[in-house]
C-alpha cells in the first residue's frame, strides 16, 4: 500500500530535518508510539502500544535509516511484529524537506505493508487508518516545529531523552496528539474492531 503527501511547516528546513531524527519528538508525534530510542547513528527501536477497548496491539519495532542526505532527504525502514496478533508491519519511508518561504515543505512517500492477521482483514480499514495516522502526525509535527523538540518524556515513555539544545515545549502545547484527542475519538484499532463488528452484523 503506497501513500504520500506533502505539507508545510513553519520552521527552517534544517530545524525540520533535525526534528525528524530526534527520537523524543518523533515518539511524541507518531500516533501510538510509546517508546522510541536511538540506539546508534542509524538505528532506532521502540514500541507501538495500543491497549484500548478489546484489542491489544503491542508491537516492538526497529527502524533503520537507510539513506541520509541532510538536510534534504532521509530514507528509513521500520519493521515491527505483534506476536499475539500474528501480524507484522513494515514501512519504507522517504522524506524530503525543502525550504518554502519562511517555512519548509515536507514531502513524504511511504510504502506500508501489514502482514498476517491484521493484513488479511481488508484494506479499507487500513486505508482509512492510514489517512487518520497521517493527519494526526502532520498536526503533531506541525506543533513540534513551532514548539521545538520535545524534552519531557511522556508518561509511558522509556528511554526517551531530550536532545541537545532542546527547548522546553510551552505548557500550552499538548504532549502528544494521541493523548490530546477528545475522549470519544477512537484509536485506529478501536475503529478496526468496530469495523469488524459492523461487517458481521450488517
Amino acid at each position: 500500500m503506497k501513500f504520500g503527501s506533502s505539507f508545510t511547516v513553519p520552521a527552517a528546513s534544517t530545524t525540520v530535518f533535525d526534528l525528524f531524527l530526534d527520537a523524543p519528538t518523533m515518539r511524541a508525534c507518531i500516533p501510538g508510539c510509546e517508546e522510541l530510542e536511538r540506539t546508534d547513528e542509524t538505528h532506532f527501536r521502540g514500541r507501538l502500544v495500543n491497549t484500548i477497548a478489546h484489542v491489544r496491539f503491542n508491537a516492538a519495532f526497529s527502524a533503520e535509516i537507510v539513506g541520509l542526505d541532510a538536510p534534504h532527504e532521509v530514507r528509513a525502514v521500520l519493521q515491527g511484529e505483534d506476536q499475539r496478533l500474528g501480524s507484522s508491519i513494515k514501512v519504507q519511508a522517504t522524506l524530503t524537506v525543502q525550504p518554502d518561504g519562511d517555512g519548509s515543505l515536507v514531502t513524504y512517500a511511504m510504502e506500508l505493508a501489514l502482514w498476517g492477521k491484521l493484513g488479511r482483514l481488508g484494506e479499507s480499514i487500513v486505508q482509512r487508518r492510514t489517512v487518520e495516522v497521517e493527519r494526526q502526525f502532520v498536526e503533531a509535527f506541525t506543533r513540534a516545529c513551532t514548539a521545538g523538540p520535545v524534552e519531557l518524556p511522556a508518561p509511558v515513555s522509556v528511554g526517551a531523552r531530550g536532545s541537545e539544545g532542546a527547548v522546553s515545549a510551552p505548557p500550552s502545547a499538548p504532549p502528544a496528539p494521541v493523548r490530546s484527542a477528545p475522549e470519544r475519538r477512537m484509536s485506529p484499532l478501536r475503529r478496526l474492531l468496530a469495523w469488524f463488528r459492523g461487517r458481521g452484523a450488517r
Binding site: 500474528g86 510504502e111 502482514w115 498476517g116 481488508g122
Partner: protein, 779 residues
C-alpha cells in the same frame, strides 16, 4: 447428438441414460459422510503458526511459552522436522520445493512454520499466539516482472521430484525464478510478410483466483502398529500415498490413504496440501492428529495462477490467420506445485483452436513470494483462452467480418493438424459454435439500446488437451446376488464419477440402476490411479472400468458355457443373466455363481489397467504428433446488458456447449457445463484474489465474492455435442473443464459489442468497464 437406442428386448441401456446421481438423497438430507464426518481415533487437534513475512530467513523459533500452556501436547517446528527427515521434508509433484513446515526460510505470508498439537483447537490456537519467530528479511519478489529480472530468488536450488511421467524431463536448476519454460515453434512467424497483413495484439491479464470448494480441507493421520493411516480430502490418493511414503521413507504398503466423496474441489485438493504436515506430525509424535483448515487458511493453501499473456494474431488479405504469437507468464507463487505441467499444456494451445500456419509461443512458470498456485478447473487454459479469443474477435472486427463466422471459417476440423503438431479427432469446435450461436439467435437482429442499458452479444471457443500420459486401474467384484462393487481410486467431488462408472459397468454386464456401488478411494483396496483431475476420469478410468467389466462378462460367459455345455460364443450376457441360444436358456448371475461356487455370498473379480500412450513434445519446437490422448472442445455465446451509468455487466443469456464424445449421463454432463459456466461468470465479472505486497487482502467470504443465485443468467442452456471418440469408453470423454474455458472472453466480446470497448484485464468489474468507456469517449 446420439439418442440412446433401446437394446434388444426393449431393455434400457445404461450408457446414455439419465440415472439419478449416486447418493442423491443422502446429499440432500446431509446424511452422506464427507471426510470430516467419518469416525477417527481420538486426535490431537492441530493449529499452525504462519509466517508474517513474505520472504525471510528464520533465525529462531521460540516455542517455550507455547509448549508450557496446559493442554498442549507438543509443539513441532520446521527445524524439528528437518532434523528428523532432512530434505525429504520437501515435497511437490514437479519440484521438491515445498516443506511441510518452513525450516530455513519462509517464502510467503501465511506459510506454516510451526504446529501445535493440543487436546482441543482453542488451546492449540492460543498456544500458536505464544510462538515467537525471529526473522531476517530477504528481498521479496511480488510479481513476475520483478521475478524475471533475476535479482532475487525465491529458491536458490530446484530439485525435480520425479513423480510423474510427463514431468520426468525436469532438470535441477539454480539461481532462477523461472521453473519451467515451454516453447512452441511452428512455421516461422518472422517470415510472414507484412504487406496486406492485419495484426491485432494485446496484453492480457487474468488475476489469481481461489477455488473455494465449500468443504474445508481436513486431514486426519494416525499411526497404527508400524503403519501410517491418513483420512483426507484429496482428489489424488495415489499421489499422496507416494508422497507420504517418500517423506517418511516407508514402503508403500505401510501408508494407507483414504478419502470420501468430496464437497467440491475444482483442483484445490490435489497433491501436497495438509497431508505431508499431518503425516510428519503423526509419525514424528507417534500419535493421531487432525488438521482442519479454516476458510482463511484454505485461501493460503492453493490458488489459480495469475497469468499475463502478451500476444498477437495476424490475418492476410484473404482473411487467413497467418500468424499467432503469445508470451505467457504464469505466476506460480512460492512453490511450483504442478505449474510446469500447466505451463506446457496451456502454452501448446495459446494460439487457439484455429488453423494457424505460423506460431510462436513462449510459456513460463515463475516463482514469486506469494501463496502457491496450482491446478484449477481449466488447468491454465482459461488464461490463454482469454487472450486468443479476445484477439480473434478483434481480428474479425478489424477485417469487418462477423466474429462467429470468422471463427467458423478457421476452426480446426477433424483431421486437421493443430499448431502443436497433433491431429484433431473428436473435437467438434464447429458443432459447439453452431449450437451456442443458434441458441442465442446469433444471426437474428436485436435491439442494442441507446439509453442507459446497452445490449451486446459475444462468442468464444475453447480448446484443451486431456492430461497425458496417465494410468488408471479398475477392479470389479461381482457379488453372487448380481450386485457389483467397483474399486477405483477416482474420487467423486461432485462431477459424478460414482454415477457414471457404474453406468459403464452396468452397460457391459446389463445390470440395473443402483446395482453397482463404488468403493471410496482407499489405497489399501482401490488400485492406482494417476489423479482425479483434468477431466481425465471418464476416458481413462472409464476405459479401465469398461475393460474390467468386459473381462467379467467373459468370465460369466465361460461359466455359463461350462454349466450349459455350450460354446462360449453361443452365450451372451443380457439383463436376465447369461443366455444361450442353443440351450434356449438364460441363467441368472445369481444362479450361475451359486452353481459354480456352491455357496451364497461369493464374489468373482476382474481387473483391468488402462494406460495412455503419448509422444513427448520436442523441447525445441514444442511439437508432438500425439501430445494428448484427446481434446476438449467447447463454445460459449452470451447476450449481456451493460449499465452505462454504473459499468455493471449483466449476463442475460448464456449458452454453453461441449463436445463430450458421448454423454454417459446427459444430466450430469449438462450440470458440469452449466456449473462451470456459473463459476466462469464469477471469473469474468468479479472473482479475484487481491494482493498487497504479498498479502491476500480479501481472503474471507465476507470480501471474496462467489457467484450466488443472483448472478445466474435468466436463461442458461447447456448443449451436449457428441462426436464419439474412437477409443473412449462408448465414445466418451470428460467434461469437467470444457464449460469454463471460454466464458470470460465471450462476455468481454459481448461488452465490446455493446459499448465498443476492448478490455484486456480480468475481471470485468464495473469500474474497469466504466473506465474503459470513459477512456474511449463512450457515454
Amino acid at each position: 447428438m446420439t439418442e440412446t437406442a433401446l437394446r434388444e428386448g426393449g431393455e434400457e441401456p445404461a450408457v446414455g441414460a439419465r440415472w439419478q446421481r449416486a447418493a442423491a438423497r443422502g446429499k440432500v438430507r446431509g446424511t452422506t459422510k464427507y471426510v470430516a464426518d467419518l469416525p477417527v481415533p481420538p486426535c490431537a487437534q492441530v493449529a499452525v503458526y504462519r509466517s508474517t513475512r513474505p520472504h525471510a530467513r528464520i533465525l529462531a523459533v521460540d516455542v517455550t511459552q507455547a509448549a508450557a500452556l496446559p493442554g498442549v501436547q507438543a509443539v513441532v517446528t520446521g527445524q524439528d522436522l528437518f532434523a528428523l527427515l532432512g530434505e525429504r521434508l520437501l515435497t511437490g509433484p514437479a519440484f521438491a520445493d515445498q516443506p511441510a513446515l518452513a525450516y530455513d526460510r519462509v517464502r510467503y505470508v501465511g506459510e506454516p512454520v510451526a504446529a501445535v498439537l493440543a487436546r482441543d483447537l482453542a488451546t492449540a490456537r492460543a498456544a500458536v499466539d505464544l510462538i515467537a519467530v525471529e526473522y531476517e528479511d530477504l528481498e521479496p519478489v511480488y510479481d513476475v516482472e520483478t521475478a524475471l529480472k533475476g535479482e532475487f530468488f525465491v529458491h536458490d536450488v530446484l530439485r525435480p521430484s520425479s513423480v510423474f511421467g510427463d514431468l520426468s524431463h525436469l532438470r535441477g536448476k539454480r539461481d532462477t525464478n523461472v521453473c519451467y519454460e515451454y516453447n512452441l515453434r511452428t512455421g516461422d512467424v518472422d517470415a510472414v510478410p507484412t504487406d496486406g497483413v492485419t495484426t491485432v495484439s494485446g496484453e492480457f491479464w487474468s488475476p489469481p483466483v481461489a477455488h473455494v470448494p465449500i468443504e474445508l480441507p481436513c486431514t486426519t493421520a494416525w499411526v497404527e502398529d508400524d503403519r501410517l493411516e491418513i483420512l483426507t480430502t484429496t482428489q489424488t490418493p495415489s499421489y499422496v500415498r507416494q508422497a507420504v511414503a517418500d517423506l517418511l521413507d516407508l514402503p508403500l504398503n505401510k501408508v494407507r490413504v483414504r478419502t470420501s466423496v468430496l464437497g467440491g474441489s475444482f483442483g484445490s485438493k490435489m497433491y501436497d496440501r495438509l497431508e505431508p504436515l499431518a503425516a510428519a506430525l503423526a509419525w514424528s509424535q507417534q500419535t493421531a492428529v487432525r488438521l482442519v483448515a479454516t476458510r482463511e487458511e484454505a485461501f493460503l493453501l492453493t490458488t489459480r495462477h495469475g497469468a499475463g499473456v502478451t500476444s498477437s494474431m495476424s490475418a492476410d488479405a484473404d482473411g487467413n490467420i497467418v500468424a499467432a504469437t503469445a508470451d505467457v507468464a504464469y505466476d506460480t507463487g512460492a512453490f511450483a506445485d504442478v505449474g510446469p505441467r500447466i505451463t506446457a499444456k496451456s502454452g501448446m494451445v495459446a494460439a487457439g483452436p484455429y488453423r494457424v500456419e505460423n506460431a510462436w509461443i513462449r510459456s513460463r512458470c515463475i516463482y514469486t513470494n506469494k501463496p502457491s498456485a496450482g491446478p484449477f478447473r481449466g488447468f491454465g487454459v482459461p488464461q490463454v483462452t482469454w487472450s486468443h479469443e479476445s484477439l480473434v474477435d478483434e481480428l474479425a472486427r478489424e477485417l469487418g467480418e462477423d466474429p462467429a463466422e470468422f471463427r467458423r471459417r478457421h476452426l480446426l476440423r477433424e483431421g486437421d493438424e493443430a499448431p502443436m503438431g497433433t491431429v484433431m479427432h473428436s473435437a467438434d469446435f464447429v458443432g459447439c459454435l453452431d449450437a451456442v450461436t443458434d441458441e442465442i439467435g446469433w444471426t437474428t437482429p436485436y435491439e442494442k439500446g441507446e439509453g442507459r442499458w446497452r445490449r451486446g452479444r459475444g462468442v468464444a471457443v475453447g480448446m484443451k488437451a486431456v492430461l497425458t500420459p496417465t494410468i488408471a486401474n479398475a477392479v470389479i467384484q461381482l457379488n453372487q446376488d448380481g450386485s457389483a462393487t467397483l474399486m477405483i481410486s477416482t474420487v467423486d467431488m461432485g462431477q459424478g464419477s460414482d454415477t457414471i462408472m457404474p453406468q459403464i459397468v452396468a452397460e457391459v454386464l446389463h445390470l440395473d440402476e443402483g446395482s453397482v456401488r463404488v468403493v471410496a478411494a482407499d489405497t489399501d483396496t482401490t488400485p492406482y490411479d494417476t489423479i482425479t483431475a483434468g477431466s481425465r476420469s471418464t476416458y481413462h478410468t472409464g476405459n479401465a472400468v469398461r475393460a474390467a467389466a468386459e473381462k467379467m462378462r467373459d468370465k460369466l460367459v465361460d461359466l455359463a458355457a461350462q454349466r450349459l455345455g455350450v460354446a462360449a460364443s453361443d452365450c451372451k450376457v443380457t439383463s436376465g443373466g447369461v443366455m444361450s441360444t442353443t440351450a434356449q436358456e438364460t441363467v441368472s448371475i445369481s444362479d450361475l455363481m451359486h452353481g459354480h461356487f456352491g455357496a451364497r455370498g461369493t464374489t468373482l473379480t476382474a481387473e483391468a489397467n488402462f494406460t495412455t500412450s503419448w509422444q513427448p513434445y520436442d523441447h525445441e519446437t514444442g511439437r508432438s504428433r500425439q501430445v494428448t490422448e484427446h481434446w476438449f472442445a467447447g463454445a460459449v455465446a452470451v447476450e449481456i446488458l451493460v449499465d452505462t451509468m454504473t459499468g455493471r455487466v449483466k449476463v442475460e443469456q448464456l449458452a454453453v456447449a461441449g463436445d463430450v464424445g458421448r454423454a454417459i449421463n446427459p444430466t450430469l454432463v449438462e450440470q458440469q457445463l452449466t456449473g462451470a459456466a456459473i463459476m466462469g461468470i464469477g471469473h469474468a465479472l468479479f472473482d479475484e484474489l487481491v494482493f498487497d505486497q504479498g498479502q491476500i487482502v480479501n481472503g474471507t467470504l465476507l470480501d471474496y465474492q462467489l457467484p450466488s443465485v443472483r448472478d445466474v443468467p435468466a436463461k442458461l442452456t447447456a448443449h451436449v455435442i457428441e462426436s464419439a471418440h474412437r477409443t473412449g469408453p462408448f465414445g466418451a470423454k470428460g467434461v469437467g473443464e470444457t464449460g469454463i474455458l471460454a466464458i470470460a472472453p465471450a462476455i468481454a466480446n459481448a461488452v465490446r459489442d455493446a459499448v465498443g470497448v476492448r478490455i484486456t484485464r480480468l475481471p470485468l468489474s464495473p469500474e474497469r468497464v466504466l473506465e474503459a468507456m470513459t477512456e474511449a469517449g463512450v457515454s
